[in-house]
Amino acid sequence: MNKRGTQTGPREVEIVINVLCFAHMKDIFGGEKLTINSGGIATVEDVLEYLKATYDADISGIMTAVNEEFAEESTPVGQGDTVALIPPVSGG
């Protein structure tokens, strides 16, 4: 279905990733918490690609955190990690 489908090697190992959705992300994904159980996921970018493809979701402009630390698209993601989808914040 996408580039992950053509890859081989360790990225194909199925891992479980927890995804937290905040603010309007909850509306887009229909809940506060998603669980991804998939192969081919090694970075934040992979998580975002997976979500876009699976949910047909527009999540452009979204920041992410991995295990409560702000992340880049290249930040590694592994088994059991928690990835949060962080829309522009509006506290204060």
Binding site: M63, E68, V89, S90, G91
Partner: protein
């Protein structure tokens, strides 16, 4: 001991936050109270709803506290941010900073509110009489935590 940097669904006490940072070395305490404003850009707010990524938000507030210490080594700071439904004039955030000399307390306090609006995962949903919307999702805001402050209620 009470947390110095916390997110809570309970009402915030300006008295308690001030007490957290009051100490013999300080001659000045500056507090910021972000309150729910009734009208924003001509539209009447009925209530606001604040949501936080609780654990990460407290970590980020603590990180801001460390930034303040680096820039103003004599400053002590404390921040409480409320979540849940807030009505007009309720305090959404209270920031207290004490310093030996007052100039630093004003500066450090203003620094904290600006950083909160940049890097603390808390979101606000406006509820009007005829609709509701998460603030931030249609505003032109920065994507990166080190960017300019986003548009909050007390900008």
């Amino acid at each position: 001991m009470k947390k110095r940097f916390f997110v809570t669904s309970e009402p915030l006490s300006v008295e308690e936050l001030a007490a957290e940072v009051t100490r013999p070395e300080a001659g000045a305490v500056v507090q910021f109270i972000g309150t729910v404003r009734e009208f924003t850009q001509g539209r009447r707010t009925v209530y606001l709803e604040y949501e936080a990524y609780h654990s990460m938000a407290e970590k980020q507030l603590e990180a801001i506290g460390r930034e303040v210490k680096e820039r103003w080594p004599d400053a002590e700071s404390a921040v409480g941010h409320r979540t849940g439904e807030l009505k007009i004039s309720d305090a959404a955030v209270v920031i207290a900073v004490s310093t030996p000399h007052r100039k630093d307390a004003y500066e450090a306090n203003e620094y904290i509110i600006e950083r909160i609006k940049q890097i603390v995962p808390i979101w606000k949903k406006e509820h009007w009489e005829d609709g509701e919307q998460w603030v931030g999702d249609q505003l032109e805001q920065t994507r990166y935590p080190d960017g300019a402050p986003g548009g909050g209620n007390s900008d």
